[in-house]
Symmetry: C2
Subunit: 330 residues, 2 copies
């Protein structure tokens, strides 16, 4: 990452992103339940007994704690005042990470109420894999999935590198992407990690295989819901539609059918941002997105015009073949 050289005004730690070789991070996989088609359709509630037992031990932090307990306590309720809900509620750890060469956001989610602290990464970037895995290790999480919202044209995915560095992690992508992965998902599938889950919504248009991952709908799931939209919907923008099976008609329908139908308070976490925004909401984009607030005819005309004025993507010829095989070519 270009930022690794640091800034002369500040001291940062160059070694902080390097995994500690003396403490290898080898997670155990207990979460994956594969059906015969390779989809994940796990029950969100099957680990509730673990959460109950974990919660009952939490008062011990008032009297003293080990480093691991300290971190677990510190990470509880990363999404705000979630800790004030019932003690049996699931607890989401959430981190947004930025890769500043491709302006890509990577998302780390984990259920830290589950004894294994199962975690997943959405849209990891190859250049930032060591940073991401070091954070996972420091937070005491067990990474089980490395997922993509789509086949990226502007950077190389980190999923292959992650699988190589952390045996047992499963790569996840949509079946429609036509890419290599351990697990293929389709519209309506659920991806469970502990007592939390993501719902898969097919949102093609930027590419033929784009999906949006949305946190679950239910009393033990985070509120408000969170949508990881990849390049289907950006903060006040959307992905281009002139490569990789893209279709402006499809993109318009995808966003209106499967993202704008979510509750308006749903937090939208985009795949990229070029202006320094980190998050938006469904309600905001329904009001202020300069393209997707227009009617379909206007939208199609606008995207045809804008696509014509965009240059050929810099990295597409390198990134696409690499990303078809988790970023690692033979």
């Amino acid at each position: 990452m270009s930022g690794d050289s640091g800034n002369p005004a500040l001291l940062s730690n160059a070694d902080a992103t390097k995994p500690n070789k003396n403490q290898p991070f080898v997670p155990r996989i207990t979460e994956l339940r594969m059906l015969n088609l390779g989809y994940i359709r796990s029950s969100a509630c099957r680990f509730s007994h673990f959460i109950t037992s974990h919660s009952s031990s939490s008062p011990s932090s008032c009297f003293g704690f080990s480093p691991k307990q300290t971190i677990t306590s510190a990470l509880r309720s990363q999404m705000g005042s979630f800790s004030t809900l019932s003690r049996s509620s699931s607890r989401l750890l959430f981190r947004q990470l930025f890769e500043n060469e491709s302006f890509t956001y990577t998302y780390l989610l984990a259920d830290i109420s589950h004894p294994d602290k199962p975690a997943l990464l959405i849209d990891p970037v190859d250049r930032a894999v060591d940073r991401d895995l070091n954070l996972v290790r420091e937070l005491g999480l067990k990474l089980i999935y490395a997922m993509n919202t789509h086949v990226h044209a502007d950077h190389i995915t980190g999923t292959g590198l992650i699988k190589r560095k952390v045996p047992g992690v499963k790569s996840v992508i949509s079946k429609a992407s036509g890419s290599k992965a351990d697990v293929f998902v389709e519209h309506g599938d659920k991806i469970s990690f502990g007592n939390l889950f993501l719902e898969v919504r097919a949102t093609p248009g930027h590419t033929v295989g784009c999906v949006t991952y949305v946190t679950g709908d239910g009393p033990d799931q985070p509120q408000p819901r969170m949508a990881f939209t990849g390049d289907a919907l950006l903060v006040r923008g959307c992905g281009r539609t002139d490569f990789q099976g893209g279709s402006s008609e499809q993109l318009y329908k995808s966003v209106h059918s499967h993202i704008f139908t979510l509750p308006k308070e749903t937090l939208v976490y985009p795949g990229h941002d070029y202006k320094g925004f980190t998050v938006t909401t469904v309600g905001e984009e329904m009001l202020y997105n300069p393209r997707l607030t227009k009617d379909e005819v206007f939208f199609l005309e606008q995207l045809i015009f804008e696509n014509l004025n965009l240059p050929y993507p810099d990295m597409i010829d390198v990134a696409l073949p690499a990303n078809k095989v988790c970023g690692l070519q033979d």
Copy 2:
């Protein structure tokens, strides 16, 4: 911002950051209570009657809403499931914004349960002021404060530009900074916006006037607490100490006395990050900060060595005199 040129892989909206001149944003100032020394020491509870009346009207959104109501609903509980608390609880809107030339984070906070939706910006950057003010306008907020954690050496503050563009906004900085501002704060002061407040903690060391702003401690304040540390404490790092009255001894004492004494789950939002991290926690930094986990003697030796190996800051000769006068020189 360098990212404004966009990326060829995506469509973004170049006009989205420009304020609409047809809809001037002129907030009314109702929040400021100045004492004779120019400090802010407001009661966090004095607007509770507004919140009660606001909450009682919220069910109307079930039957239909104006665009403004839609956004208000969408913004409620940006910090997670805060909306599930009692209806009279304050609601924090929170946005983290990134300026990618100086790697600076700007923070927007607002009390959206208050009828005026009073808001403040921490560490705005001159280059990103139009983006920030447009977001404030779209979200229907009333900006009352433009604050700095310290006199920056690596970018020019946006507080002066904001005051010029939004009459009535008050600039805020520490008294110890020796800079020009409308409001000077000291350790222990409270800065109220609606029913929420920030507590001021003096954390000198990177500069003589550094402060950390911490969200309030109380039943109606956000949980976990949030600390905006400027350059006193970064994600696995800290600010250098060889300019602007910096002192390694002071920095060590500041962090250990006034940041590491906060609850371990406190979210730490830094003034910069060069590796793509957006947030950390007090508990994490107490375990993993490569400098501040060391004893004081080691820390002092390490910073002396590291300071010697850092180049003279690029922008310091331009930024310091400008930032002493809110970024605008005559």
